[in-house]
């Protein structure tokens, strides 16, 4: 449990810079939610039996969680690892690189969870999610955060410079957001694209959260949970592997 001291360090810094952190992690996705939700929603009275804004809220919850987790583990993680050499300082103490990787992933997932759960709270306040089922979206948001933090940290420990992250963001995250059922039902995609979406974590997050917001149990819940857990676990193992390699030279 030594990784907790790494998590705690990041939390303490976040607490100091809380105003800016909250603004970028929460204001952005909420502006998007209401702007697109009400704007497009006026044209589309109902999608899959839900109002468009409620439909989009589920997607936006998962997307914002993904972005917070990814930015924290990639950009902030890289700043700590590469720019500030904070990881080097931690390694003089009785911690090993595995502890740092675990602390960073759980921290980024925690921050992402805060984004996801705040969006859920706002959605509830606006009457977009009123069933007790939505409470299950809280652990779901953490799981989405964990999966993307773990992947983000792989990128972090592989990066040689800041530019490296643009590849992942432009080539992976943006297309994934388009095909994972965030803005429109993924089922209306051509079959090959749907198959790609189903292999990626964001789709499964949306598949869990959307039925919960609609007020019922998600079909195939354990399949979606298993995919997200698999991404988190594989990401954790690979991030440790590459981090060890980076820090052994």
């Amino acid at each position: 449990m030594r990784w907790i001291s790494v998590w705690r360090r990041n939390m303490l810094v976040w607490r100091k810079l809380i105003a800016a952190a909250m603004l970028s992690n929460l204001a952005d996705p909420l502006i998007m939610l209401f702007g697109l939700g009400y704007g497009l929603g006026a044209l589309l009275p109902s999608v899959e039996g839900m109002s468009y804004i409620a439909f989009f809220a589920a997607g936006q919850l998962c997307t914002a969680t993904m972005f917070t987790a990814s930015f924290e583990s990639m950009f902030s993680g890289f700043a700590r690892m590469h720019g500030q050499k904070t990881w080097d300082a931690i390694l003089y103490a009785p911690l090993v690189i595995d502890d740092i990787v675990a602390g960073e992933i759980v921290w980024a997932a925690s921050k992402a969870w805060l984004t996801g759960s705040t969006i859920l709270g706002v959605a509830a306040v606006f009457g977009l999610a009123s069933s007790p089922w939505v409470l299950l979206a809280l652990p779901a948001a953490f799981l989405v955060g964990l999966a993307f933090s773990a992947i983000g940290l792989i990128m972090c420990v592989l990066a040689r410079g800041w530019d490296f992250f643009s590849y992942y963001m432009t080539l992976v995250m943006t297309p994934m957001m388009m095909i994972s059922g965030v803005f429109f039902p993924a089922e209306q995609l051509p079959a090959p694209l749907l198959a790609v979406a189903k292999a990626l974590p964001l789709y499964h997050g949306v598949q869990i959260v959307r039925p919960l917001i609609a007020g019922g149990p998600p079909p195939d819940l354990w399949l979606h949970v298993a995919v997200l857990l698999a991404y988190a676990a594989a990401g954790y193992v690979l991030a440790i592997h590459f981090a060890r390699r980076r820090f052994s030279s």
């Binding site: 001291s5 050499k85 904070t86 300082a89 103490a93 009785p94 820090f247 052994s248």
Partner: protein, 300 residues
């Protein structure tokens, strides 16, 4: 028993053997210096001793623990001052100590009790709330030293502790390091400041190209490897003077347009200096030993 012992230590990066079979033994309470030009393998040796990288061969024992096998246990009782400060820029002086202490599992109350004496040691009393970016280079260095002491270590590794500091800041660090030795802590430092090594270290090893090429107390190294007197001569006509000097001194070297003469007695040489020649007569120092053993070529 040694505080730190290494035997036949080796480490290569690709084809380059950075540490090429070295033996070290540092006694408890000793201040031990590892000297060498850039790229000699000093920092790699420190990293190996801390268990941060795995050796390709050899054995290390740090405070009775085998490294890297039990490096974590060993590091719990060790402090590290790295070559480049890596203080946490998001925290104040005091928070840096508090957060760092948590990495060692020290209770917050215990850290709070240790903080005032550590700040006093670092000459930062009253600066506990200061932001890191407002500190001078010397202050940052002293805070890094205080941070390395937060777990009350038995042994402290220091990688070039005074590089980049002005003389005032350097002398303050030296005074603090002597205080640590008086408290019975073992110090292992790397440096390429001979003056620093001569003043602080009980014993030192000169390292070059991954090997230890000389070892002993600063005085014994000077006595063993170099003539006690040095005369540096420069100025117009130095070349013809050098031809005459060769007969009067056991060892004469020319570097650029300066002639270095080493000997037991340089009086005859001094008498032969005339005209516009400039000179400096001084006792031999560790730097002369260092340059004799590692050569005068640049190492970048």
């Amino acid at each position: 028993m040694s505080a730190l012992a290494a035997r036949a230590l080796r480490k290569s990066y690709d084809a380059l053997e950075v540490v090429a079979g070295i033996d070290l033994a540092v006694a408890p309470g000793e201040c031990f210096g590892l000297l060498g030009p850039n790229g000699a393998g000093k920092t790699t040796t420190l990293k190996l001793c801390l268990g941060l990288i795995e050796p390709d061969g050899g054995e290390i024992e740090l405070l009775g623990q085998p490294v890297p096998g039990k490096a974590r246990e060993a590091r719990a009782r060790v402090g590290v001052v790295p070559q480049f400060d890596n203080l946490d820029p998001d925290f104040t002086v005091e928070e840096n100590l508090a957060v760092y202490g948590r990495y060692f599992g020290i209770a917050p109350r215990e850290i709070a009790a240790r903080t005032p004496p550590l700040l006093e040691f670092a000459g930062l009393t009253g600066r506990g709330d200061a932001k890191i970016m407002t500190l001078s280079g010397g202050m940052k260095r002293r805070l890094t030293l205080a941070r390395a002491l937060v777990n009350d270590p038995q042994l402290v590794f220091m990688d070039e502790p005074t590089t980049g500091l002005d003389p005032q800041a350097r002398h303050l660090i030296w005074e603090r390091l002597r205080r640590l030795t008086q408290e019975g802590k073992t110090l292992v430092l790397t440096t390429h400041f001979m003056e620093e090594a001569e003043r602080l270290c009980h014993r030192l090893a000169i390292m070059d190209r991954g090997r230890i090429i000389a070892e002993g107390s600063p005085r014994s190294l000077i006595a063993r490897h170099i003539e006690p007197q040095v005369l540096e001569v420069h100025g117009p006509g130095y070349e013809s003077w050098m031809e005459r000097a060769k007969a009067l001194a056991p060892r004469v070297e020319r570097v650029g347009d300066t002639v270095y003469c080493y000997g037991n007695d340089v009086d005859p040489l001094l008498k032969s200096i005339s005209g516009e020649l400039g000179y400096l007569h001084r006792p031999a120092s560790l730097e002369d030993v260092f340059l004799k053993l590692t050569g005068r070529d640049l190492r970048d």
